[in-house]
């Protein structure tokens, strides 16, 4: 079975785009330097100097430049080495890119991709740690995807670049870049839309995003040893999740844990609960649980950061609470261990 890192998949889709689609342009801070957006654009500027464009620190204008270039036939890929810089582009993304097709009655299309990398741990602090999926997925006209595996990257990026005619936001997670993944089939008919059931279970449903999908797998494998069967759904397309996959799973288990990389309120957790409640409010046998970042900006100090993010410890505790209700149980909780420490030394498989 072949394996690949998240970073290698990103490098491959960037390289393929430049090689096979002559209208592709990669533009952003650092795309031509020796680090090449964490190794995902290395060597491309030498090979395609006119289409790999280093930028001044002007995120707002660069986002608009991408829209203009797209209108004139290019496929721009705009990179942000940290997602919080993407906040400087919200005027262009929300007021223009998201609306360009609708607002002008279908006269225009603006196919383009924005890659935003979420930082986490090693003291990324209050800004670089942010996860903007719910802010962006709120806006009609934007497609927001959080790939949680190399396979998802290979499928969804290629589809976006070759076939989709609107703006796509790819929220990549830095923590996953160097992890080895075994090849898996994502089973998405259209890789920009929909969700993926990645583990079948019968007791509790975990709906997870991005790196939390990996944490959910760790929790599920741990609990399997104690006879608790966990179903995991990788939400994948934050803006256009597959409602039926989520609903069918909850109908079966009646228990829901949402594990997201951002804050819980007004976010992915709120949306999943909305979908369930508006379909059948009696579907849940017990109150759902949401896990996300603590409701505060992210602290830099490691002792605080370690408790700021939910991890396998919190997932196992939450799943046990859902499974046993208020009743006590004898399942020991795994140690609270920062994901950074865990994944830094981690070598697949997932």
């Amino acid at each position: 079975m072949s394996s690949s890192t998240y970073r290698a998949a990103l490098e491959k889709v960037m390289k393929d785009a430049m090689e096979h689609h002559q209208h592709t342009m990669i533009i952003g801070q650092g795309v031509t330097d020796h680090k090449g957006v964490f190794g995902t654009t290395l060597g491309l500027a030498d090979k395609y100097p006119s289409r790999v464009i280093e930028t001044p620190l002007s995120e707002d204008a660069i986002a608009g430049i991408c829209i203009g270039a797209s209108l004139n036939g290019l496929y721009p890929i705009n990179t942000h080495i940290r997602a919080d810089f993407g906040l400087l582009t919200f005027n262009q993304l929300i007021n223009l890119a998201a609306k360009y097709r609708y607002m002008f009655g279908g006269l225009f299309e603006v196919p383009l991709m924005v890659r935003m990398v979420i930082g986490r741990s090693w003291g990324q602090g209050a800004q670089h740690s942010q996860s903007l999926q719910s802010l962006l997925a709120h806006i009609p006209g934007l497609v927001v995807v959080m790939p949680s595996s190399p396979q998802s990257i290979l499928e969804s990026y290629q589809y976006a670049i070759t076939s989709y005619k609107g703006p796509v936001i790819m929220l990549e997670h830095r923590l996953m870049y160097e992890l080895e993944f075994e090849k898996q089939e994502t089973n998405l008919v259209n890789p920009l839309f929909g969700s993926i059931k990645i583990r079948v279970g019968y007791d509790v449903t975990v709906v997870a995003t991005s790196v939390m999908v990996l944490e959910a797998k760790r929790a599920a494998e741990y609990l399997e040893g104690y006879g608790i069967s966990v179903e995991i759904i990788d939400l994948h397309s934050i803006s256009h999740p597959d409602h039926q996959i989520v609903l069918n799973s909850i109908r079966k288990t009646g228990k829901l844990l949402v594990a997201d990389t951002s804050w819980a309120c007004y976010g992915v957790s709120a949306e999943i609960n909305r979908i369930i409640n508006e379909t059948d409010s009696l579907m849940l046998k017990s109150p759902a649980i949401s896990l996300g970042m603590a409701p505060a900006p992210c602290p830099t100090a490691k002792s605080l950061e370690d408790v700021y993010y939910p991890d396998v410890h919190d997932l196992v505790a939450s799943i046990c609470k859902l499974h046993f209700g208020g009743k006590s149980n004898s399942i020991p909780l795994p140690m609270k261990q920062s994901m950074t420490d865990f994944y830094k030394h981690f070598k697949g498989p997932f």
């Binding site: 342009m25 006119s50 289409r51 464009i53 930028t55 001044p56 002007s58 707002d60 204008a61 660069i62 986002a63 608009g64 430049i65 991408c66 829209i67 203009g68 270039a69 797209s70 209108l71 004139n72 036939g73 290019l74 721009p76 005027n91 262009q92 007021n95 223009l96 360009y100 097709r101 609708y102 607002m103 002008f104 009655g105 279908g106 006269l107 225009f108 009609p140 006209g141 497609v143 609107g166």
Partner: protein, 307 residues
């Protein structure tokens, strides 16, 4: 040389079309804000006299004049303002978001300065694709020069020597605030600090002067030596938004406006205008009939073209 009568005809046409909007406004057939170009027609007409259909203009919410001067169709314009399905954007755009890619009129935005960078990006794509001699016009008002994206766009266009005309219609007002209360900089020095040559036109009321001077700027851009900044001094006769005048509000001088209007050739008492007006009125009536007969924007289109 430009046929001055032809330019005056175009400018008068735009003014009469907007005056028709003023007539119609109380009837509530146009149910959305209108930012009229009355007083600023000569800028659009003079510049567009030098543009080809393959040149693109990126306009803003005060976009009627550029839409019309660049060749945007009039029947679909009125239908668009009335929210009809026969509108250029099926009624989804209205007055503030006019566009017509068939005539190189790219989308108008209501957020000040937000389309300047689009012109730069389209020019960058043109360069990458190896196109020759196309011109990309970023059209904005003096208020837009206070936005960060404006500076970022000047910088990027200059670094890459892109074929962009930065075209400022300077009417001296941002909504109700005078330029002097908003700007600490000298725009000529600013432009030149970015290595962008600066040309200004004080006689923004006269389309033939605008045409002749802007020809120099546009030719320079077309030759591929990099962006050029063109500033046209002009005057907005009406209120910021809406069909009325608001000199009584006291935020600007009616005397200055009166002096300016005395130089406005569209107020000249000229026999040729009678003939122009007859032809233009006929065109307006026909266009309005198209708009009246067009059905309202279709409910089935509410959720089309979202993604």
């Amino acid at each position: 040389m430009y046929d001055r009568d032809l330019l005056l005809y175009e400018a008068l046409r735009i003014r009469m079309i907007e005056e028709k909007i003023i007539d119609l406004y109380p009837s509530d057939q146009i149910q959305s804000p209108v930012h009229l170009s009355i007083g600023q027609e000569a800028a659009a007409v003079g510049v567009c006299a030098n543009l080809n259909i393959s040149d693109w203009v990126f306009i803003n919410y005060r976009g009627h004049a550029f839409y019309l001067a660049k060749g945007g169709p009039l029947p679909q314009f009125f239908a668009e303002l009335m929210g009809k399905s026969g509108g250029i954007s099926k009624g989804k755009a209205g007055s503030m978001h006019l566009a017509d890619p068939n005539h190189g009129i790219m989308g108008a935005s209501a957020v000040v300065a937000s389309t300047i960078s689009h012109a730069v990006g389209a020019a960058l794509a043109s360069r990458i694709k190896g196109e020759n001699s196309r011109v990309f016009v970023a059209n904005f008002g003096d208020g837009a020069m206070e936005q960060g994206a404006f500076y970022e766009s000047l910088n990027f266009a200059s670094i890459h020597k892109l074929p962009v005309l930065f075209l400022c219609e300077d009417n001296g007002l941002a909504v109700h605030t005078s330029r002097g209360d908003r700007q600490a900089f000298d725009v000529k020095k600013l432009s030149e600090a970015f290595g962008i040559s600066f040309i200004s036109i004080e006689e923004g009321y006269e389309p033939s002067i605008v045409a002749e001077v802007s020809a120099r700027a546009i030719t320079k851009v077309r030759e591929g030596s990099g962006p050029v900044f063109l500033l046209i001094r002009t005057l907005r006769y009406k209120e910021h938004v809406g069909p009325g005048e608001d000199f009584s509000a006291g935020y600007r001088s009616e005397e200055v406006a009166k002096a300016w209007k005395q130089k406005d050739p569209l107020f000249e008492d000229s026999a040729k205008f009678d003939e122009f007006k007859m032809r233009i009125n006929r065109e307006i009536e026909d266009a309005l009939n198209f708009a009246y007969l067009s059905p309202h924007a279709r409910v089935e289109d509410l959720l089309t073209d979202v993604i």
